[in-house]
């Protein structure tokens, strides 16, 4: 960081707005503004920027917190790709992403479409749909265990009415991840809220014109609603992907990673190395790989977004 307060001399000439030198009052304003955000800047530097950079350094060391870090080069990274559990937790996490993101999108969107219907008591429904999202993860994970209980649970009871012998859900390694994905939809109210706002922003006249032209509901959804809420979809995709990559609380509480490591997520395994084995170097390397994966997926989403995100009124 540059020294603070900044030296007077060169300061004058370096601060420019639009190529012109800053006027005196502008400069004063700038200093004032900086002073106002200083607490945040310091917090960011100390609690975010420094740890991020430090973890990059630690990822090339063997570090047990109380001993001095020892430089080992790429050793941690090499070891990771021979670590069976690491690869397992990585594939599990990608499975979570592949399941959570699209299913969450559909559920959120369908809920949003229902919640913009012109009904008298719609406010009540909105409240009910959003309500589960404010329940703490621990509470709903515990309820979820019962919900999906193979013998006594609600889901298998309902399936039983239709003569279906429900799966073992969390007790079956082939179903456990999917069960967690399903249960996560409990929090779909948040996504629905964002979509609802986006849908309500769409000008009515577009639909009126479409109705005059004899468009069906599906056509209107496909040609008007979906394209015009695409900015919200972009936001959702990025946030949901990053969230799914970091999934921790549900599997940690509901299964602890079992059965047979089938629900072990990336961050759970990272946590284990960082805080149970106090293997900070290894854990830091894991964190950086996850960071790179996150960056890559976000980049991919943004890169393709030019093709499918539309802003109403903006020329392409």
């Amino acid at each position: 960081m540059s020294p603070w307060p900044p030296p007077r001399g060169p300061f004058k000439s370096t601060l420019k707005i639009g190529g012109r030198k800053m006027r005196k009052y502008q400069r004063r304003n700038f200093v004032k503004g900086m002073l106002f955000i200083l607490p945040w800047l310091i917090g960011f530097a100390v609690f975010t920027a420094y740890p991020i950079i430090a973890s990059l350094y630690f990822s090339f060391t063997e570090y047990h917190v109380t001993t001095k870090p020892q430089w080992v080069g790429l050793e941690n990274y090499k070891k990771l790709f021979n670590d069976v559990l690491f690869l397992k937790s990585l594939t599990n996490t990608l499975y979570y992403v592949a399941g959570l993101v699209p299913i969450g999108l559909v559920v959120g969107l369908v809920l949003a479409l229902l919640l913009v219907q012109p009904l008298k008591e719609i406010v009540f429904y909105r409240g009910i749909i959003y309500f589960p999202s404010i329940v703490p993860a621990y509470a709903f994970a515990t309820i979820g265990i019962w919900f999906f209980h193979p013998y006594l649970g609600f889901i298998n009871h309902i399936l039983g009415f239709f003569g279906i012998d429900g799966p073992m859900w969390l007790s079956d390694e082939n179903w456990a991840k999917f069960t967690i994905i399903l249960l996560s939809q409990w929090g779909a109210g948040g996504t629905a809220l964002i979509y609802m706002a986006a849908i309500k922003d769409i000008p009515r006249e577009l639909y009126e014109a479409a109705i005059l032209d004899g468009a069906t509901r599906w056509q209107m959804f496909k040609k008007i609603t979906f394209p015009l809420i695409s900015p919200a979809t972009l936001y959702y995709l990025v946030i949901a992907t990053l969230g799914a990559l970091q999934i921790f609380d549900l599997p940690q509480i509901m299964t602890g990673g079992g059965p047979a490591n089938s629900t072990l997520s990336y961050v759970m395994y990272l946590y284990r190395h960082a805080f149970t084995y106090v293997n900070m170097g290894y854990a830091s390397a894991m964190a950086w790989i996850l960071f790179i994966i996150s960056m890559f997926l976000t980049f991919l989403i943004f890169k393709t977004s030019k093709r499918w995100v539309f802003y109403y009124g903006a020329r392409r």
Binding site: V65, T66, H149, M168, E173, F275, V278
Partner: protein
């Protein structure tokens, strides 16, 4: 002369009065109200009898192998003076440089260390020692036994006063006590890995050996008895199916729900603390018996293993000498009181009579203590535990053969151990 003496006593007295009271900070995680109260009372008594020291008790989160708060505090130089640490990780933490050598401070206090050691059970001292020196004084301990439901025994036509002694009997009884209807498990006789049926529990009951101290080599993957103990557990997994057992177990997720207490699991291996749970949570008319852990003919009769906690001085403690004085008090007098108050088994032999007097049923557990096993004292104890648990899961779920799973675990932990011991 008299004047001189007077002045001298005055000087001594005034320095005594002026001597600053040293405050030491004690972190523990015994949040259970009964345990907490006993600790607080002992601390209050210590503060009264040691006017130059004031102990401040702070309840901090932490579990057996999870000591995040301690590690970060020690790294930052803001750690406590006394910490409550799971004993089987003492060697590991001492190796990582998190602990001060307690023995050095005890010697400074003029304590006869050899004599002090003899007052504790051997396994507890072994766990508290690293590189031949005491890094901790042992706190409480525990043992594992077989609990069985007498009512279910009667219902199945078994003699409620004859618990299974051998593994063959256990298998036979388990079969008779199991009820399966329409493919659903309604009642199970026994699940080997439930409760405290850990890898260590069965490995030792089968007469196996996990670690050779002389060569500093892990040897469980080469021990036919340990292999047999896992193969025996696998038979249960195959017979009932892991999914079905998982479904059966998942009805009892939660703190005080236990299939044994609900009368759905007829036999279980659990710790001595389970007795308190039975008394608190089981139905009024619950009838149960306690028996040694069953063993095969070639195994070890009355085998059990003990864990428990200890008191240590973290690195960077501001007043290590006073901390050692407090630890010494707690691990002796404090333990006598703790045993009576909480029914935790003591590692301090003199605390046993008080415990047995307070609760005669504890006698059974106390008698098992002198020859209890303890987990290998190595600087990678937590890793070994996790890898053994992982290997067991691979075996039960049929992901690896017994031999392969144990071999993989042994190689991985041995590598970490060699590194920790500076052999590589």
């Amino acid at each position: 002369m008299r004047k001189l003496l007077l002045i001298l006593t005055l000087i001594v007295l005034s320095t005594f009065a002026m001597a600053e009271v040293v405050e030491i900070v004690f972190w523990h995680n015994m949040s259970n109200p009964v345990d907490k109260k006993s600790i607080e009372e002992s601390v209050a008594k210590f503060n009264k009898t040691h006017p130059n020291i004031k102990v401040k008790v702070v309840l901090v989160p932490g579990t057996e192998t999870e000591v995040t708060k301690l590690m970060t505090a020690v790294a930052a130089g803001t750690g406590p003076d006394v910490y409550y640490l799971d004993r089987f990780t003492v060697a590991q933490r001492a190796h990582q440089g998190v602990l001060e050598c307690l023995e050095d401070y005890l010697v400074q206090l003029g304590v006869d260390v050899e004599k002090l050691k003899s007052k504790y059970f051997d396994f507890a001292i072994a766990e508290a020692t690293y590189n031949g020196k005491l890094y901790a004084l042992p706190w409480d301990t525990d043992v594992r036994v077989l609990y069985y439901n007498k009512k279910l025994f009667k219902k199945a036509g078994l003699d409620p006063d004859k618990p299974p002694v051998t593994i063959d009997e256990l298998d036979e009884y388990a079969e008779k006590l199991t009820i399966i209807k329409n493919g659903r498990i309604e009642q199970l006789g026994f699940i080997p890995w439930f409760g405290q049926g850990w890898h260590y529990t069965w490995g030792w009951a089968f007469g196996g050996k996990f670690y050779d101290e002389k060569t500093q080599k892990l040897c469980f993957a080469d021990d036919p008895k340990i292999i047999a103990s896992f193969k025996w557990q696998k038979k249960y997994a195959d017979k009932y199916g892991m999914k079905n057992i998982g479904a059966f177990q998942s009805a009892y997720t939660g703190a005080n729900l236990n299939p044994f207490l609900a009368g759905k699991l007829a036999m279980v291996v659990d710790g001595n603390w389970f007795l308190a749970q039975i008394r608190t949570f089981a139905p009024k008319d619950f009838e149960f018996g306690i028996a040694p852990i069953p063993y095969p003919v070639y195994g070890e009769a009355g085998s059990t293993w003990a864990g428990g906690w200890s008191l240590v001085i973290p690195k960077g403690a501001k007043h290590p000498k006073e901390a050692a004085e407090f630890i010494l008090y707690m691990a002796t007098e404090g333990q006598v009181k703790y045993a009576i108050d909480t029914y935790h088994l003591p590692t301090y032999k003199e605390a046993i009579p008080g415990l047995v007097e307070a609760d005669p049923m504890q006698k059974y557990f106390a008698e098992l203590l002198p020859k209890a096993h303890c987990r290998p004292v190595i600087p990678v104890g937590a890793l070994l535990w996790d890898k053994l648990t992982e290997a067991r899961d691979y075996i039960l779920w049929g992901k690896k053969t017994v031999e392969q799973a144990l071999r993989d675990a042994q190689e991985e932990v041995q590598e970490a151990l060699d590194k920790a011991l500076g052999k590589k």
